[in-house]
């Protein structure tokens, strides 16, 4: 980039920007006075009806299914909850199974993956590889193509999902929970806390979200519900100091594990990401040691999830992903792309609002759920 051009651009930019406030003021004035009429919505109502009915009817049956299985263990829980989602695509699947291997089948598989939020780019890669294998092996039935697809995807989910709860002697293991706003960081902490207090560990929660209103209160309630201790600062306090305080308190009280909450932040906000990097550095000081940095991702997230994972991994060296809200109709296919492209393994999966609705990630079930098996 040559300097003259750069400077010219700059000057123009600055100049333009300096003027903009006026332009905006006048624009708002205009808008305030000229009311736009709301157009009556009459758009495409018909389009969605059949899908919708299908959706509702399947919900009913599934709902009762879930009720029956209230006492299900983690794995069963995953199975039943996820089954809701899979009915939504089962029609496409049936098509594929019935199909012979032709051009259309690839398109259908592509659509299936895209609908599961796996993403265009990753989908293309998967399908290209699948096509090569299928053609080499001379597979001719839709069902077999699907099986091949599943095993291929499974082979790409081979990350190490172990969670580290032990720090070297004299240090307190700290888990940092990071992610964009509203993905369920605080709730996930509550559930992880429950899980380890159940195992007999002494857990301390650090209310590092000092930004969002009442975030500390929310964590406080989780601490109470999961028999964990809590360290909090005042609203607007420096999150690094709150977490450091927590690590010192944990060391003094001989706590086994510190779970540190952080404020939700969009990954493209440079300052906030720097703040987070600082939080991680400070948490890593004695007596604490950061053992896991868990990126929480909401299953409804689309292609943006990849960009979230990339930025958070850059800033704080993420060690794993927690996939939340998988009990809804979304499939969370984006975590496949995240694991494949960035090598970040999904470690935990959130399946509901109860404090025990958090299970280890199981690749088999996940892939199975992406396609369902009717």
């Amino acid at each position: 980039m040559n300097t003259p051009l750069l400077i010219v651009i700059f000057v123009l930019l600055m100049f333009a920007l300096a003027l903009l406030p006026w332009a905006h003021r006048s624009w708002s004035e205009r808008e305030g006075r000229v009311g736009l009429k709301q157009s009556p919505p009459n758009h495409d109502e018909g389009l969605s009806r059949p899908d919708l009915e299908k959706l509702e009817s399947s919900d009913d049956s599934l709902h009762s299914e879930v009720q029956d299985q209230q006492s299900a263990s983690g794995t069963e829980l995953l199975r039943t909850r996820i089954s809701k989602a899979r009915d939504l695509v089962s029609n496409r699947l049936k098509d594929i199974r019935g199909d012979s291997v032709d051009l259309q089948i690839w398109e259908k598989i592509e659509e299936l993956l895209i609908l599961a939020d796996v993403g265009v780019h990753t989908t293309m890669e998967i399908v290209t590889r699948l096509r090569t294998t299928v053609e080499e092996q001379g597979v001719s039935e839709g069902t077999m193509v699907l099986d091949q697809l599943k095993s291929q995807m499974l082979s790409e989910l081979s990350g190490n999902r172990a969670l580290r709860t032990v720090a070297p002697k004299g240090r307190v293991p700290i888990w940092l929970f990071v992610g964009v706003n509203g993905v369920g960081k605080t709730t996930s902490i509550g559930k992880v806390s429950r899980r380890y207090t159940d195992e007999g560990l002494k857990v301390l929660l650090a209310a590092g979200d000092t930004f969002r209103a009442a975030a500390a209160e929310q964590l406080e309630q989780w601490a109470a519900a999961s028999d964990a201790e809590l360290v909090r600062g005042s609203e607007g306090a420096d999150p690094s100091s709150v977490i450091y305080d927590a690590s010192e308190a944990a060391s003094a009280r001989e706590v086994d594990l510190v779970l540190a909450d952080t404020a939700g932040r969009l990954h493209n906000k440079v300052n906030l990401m720097e703040e987070l990097a600082k939080v991680r550095r400070v948490a890593d000081r004695e007596p604490g040691e950061v053992c896991e940095v868990l990126l929480v991702i909401d299953a409804t997230t689309g292609q943006n999830g990849l960009s979230q994972a990339r930025e958070f991994a850059d800033a704080v060296n993420v060690t794993g992903v927690v996939l939340t809200k998988l009990d809804g109709s979304a499939k969370g296919g984006i975590v496949f792309a995240i694991e494949k492209e960035l090598g970040l393994p999904v470690k935990l999966v959130g399946l509901g609002e109860g404090d025990r609705d958090l299970v280890d990630f199981d690749p088999d079930l996940f892939v199975e759920a992406l396609f369902g098996n009717e």
């Binding site: 980039m1 700059f10 009442a214 440079v270 296919g333």
Partner: protein
């Protein structure tokens, strides 16, 4: 947002623009790429397919208009289809004749309902209304606290009832009537569409308060599932519009397009930041233009407003136009621009910026260097760069760790720029309006609202950004 969608459309349409005639293959190729771009932006598969079909059909059957090349025609068609999908005109809130106007907020967990409720309350307040917030989210721990904390910041009362969400909503309505509040905003718990018990609950709340508006809060980062969510909520509640949140991320927000297309309800409001004031009505036409690479001046303005101190900026501009802009002002502005965030993203929002400039990798150190040079000058030199001679130049170069050539380059650029700006200022008043329709409209209104008093400057200058950016590729001086 919509960043990479913009890039993709830019590339695709640029290739078509150059062509004198379009073959069916050209159109197929273009629509195929548009399909990919939309899918990458999380637009729902079915919506993409519909969009592509319509666009394709229209492109193939389009009457050849005399004034447009086929390429331009495609751009026009895509623009129209896109605006259509996004919702055409802005949503307008009208108030119920029977006070209060009731607004019900619904959505998945974590989509931003509580924050949006408070933001909406603030917005109503800014419209001269007296809102009452109802905290009917009794599911999530501390959700009521959160709403109360936010409400305190904007000085709006919160009503809640511990017995249940339905009671809270019903009694909240009564409370609003009693206390003469004219807008009631009911914040509800996040719920999954597959959870029938909770969907029944919100349907019950809706029956009890008979909302004038039911808003679905949708996270801009949502993927393909946005459509399922919207459909089920729409079937349960009869949505009126959508509130799109977290638009300040880099998500492409295809969810907004999908929801509008599938349930036929527009995006009414969009939330673009963490602060309560980062919330405003959504303008579909602005978005469509931005997606098509026509820039998004208005968003740029909003960003600038956050950073620039109005008075200082006005003063600097005044000096720039008079030709008395100093290097101090220059550095000052430079710093503020950098505060606005990533330079390339700012550039991308400006209309008419050539592709090469957009794609250029801006080296931030280059700017540090410019700053260093200016800071190595004496105050006198900064005000009047003409005094810089050979020995001063050598001193400045030494002080800033640059070479004398770099110093004189900067000074030359600065002087030329200053001269050009002065020239533009004179030009501005008799400027020809050769920008797109909407922009012309803005200008026209602006002139009429500001009137012809002594504050001539702003009126003129408001046009200049458009002019100078156009001039960019023609190299500034001598225009």
């Amino acid at each position: 947002m919509f960043q990479s969608l913009t890039d993709r459309f830019d590339g695709i349409l640029n290739r078509l623009r150059g062509k004198g005639r379009l073959t069916e293959d050209d159109i197929s190729e273009a629509t195929r790429e548009i399909r990919l771009a939309l899918l990458e932006a999380d637009v729902h598969l079915n919506v993409v397919q519909g969009f592509i079909e319509r666009t394709r059909e229209r492109c193939l059957s389009a009457d050849v208009s005399e004034s447009l090349t086929p390429g331009q025609q495609v751009v026009k068609i895509v623009n129209e289809e896109l605006t259509e999908i996004l919702g055409g005109e802005s949503f307008q809130v009208t108030y119920s004749s029977k006070s209060p106007t009731v607004v019900l907020m619904a959505g998945l967990q974590g989509s931003g309902k509580t924050t949006s409720s408070a933001k909406l309350a603030r917005w109503f307040k800014s419209q001269g209304r007296n809102p009452l917030l109802v905290a009917a989210d009794l599911q999530r721990p501390a959700a009521v606290d959160q709403l109360q904390t936010l409400a305190k910041q904007i000085d709006v009362p919160v009503f809640t009832a511990p017995e249940g969400a339905l009671e809270a909503a019903r009694d909240g309505l009564f409370e609003a009537k009693q206390t003469g509040r004219d807008v009631l905003i009911v914040d509800t718990a996040g719920r999954l569409t597959v959870d029938n018990a909770l969907m029944d609950e919100i349907a019950g709340i809706s029956d009890a308060v008979e909302p004038d508006y039911t808003f679905l809060v949708v996270d801009a980062m949502t993927g393909q599932d946005a459509v399922n969510t919207a459909e089920v909520f729409h079937a349960t509640l009869e949505l009126d519009a959508v509130i799109l949140t977290k638009l300040d991320g880099d998500a492409r927000g295809g969810a907004a397009l999908s929801v509008k297309e599938v349930v036929g309800r527009p995006v009414a409001f969009a939330s673009t930041g963490e602060k309560l004031q980062d919330f405003d009505q959504f303008h579909p036409d602005r978005m469509a233009e931005r997606i098509l690479g026509m820039g998004d001046v208005l968003t740029l303005i909003e960003k600038a407003e956050e950073v620039f101190e109005q008075e200082a900026a006005e003063a600097a501009t005044q000096r720039l136009l008079e030709g008395t802009f100093t290097l101090d002002d220059f550095v000052d502005q430079l710093r503020q621009v950098r505060q606005m965030g990533d330079l390339s993203s700012i550039v991308s929002m400006m209309p008419g910026v050539p592709k090469e400039v957009k794609d250029a990798d801006v080296d931030e150190r280059e700017i540090d260097r410019v700053e260093a040079i200016v800071l190595s000058m004496t105050p006198e030199e900064r005000i009047n760069p003409d005094v810089v001679d050979g020995s001063r130049r050598a001193r400045i170069a030494k002080g800033s760790g640059t070479t004398p050539t770099q110093v004189s380059n900067l000074l030359k650029q600065f002087k030329e720029m200053r001269k050009a700006m002065k020239g533009l200022a004179g030009l501005g008043s008799k400027s020809k309006g050769r920008k797109s329709k909407t922009k012309k409209g803005k200008k026209g209104k602006k002139n009429s609202t500001r009137g012809g008093n002594s504050r001539v400057q702003p009126k003129e200058t408001a046009k200049i950004p458009k002019l100078d950016i156009d001039d960019l590729d023609l190299t500034l001086p001598g225009r």
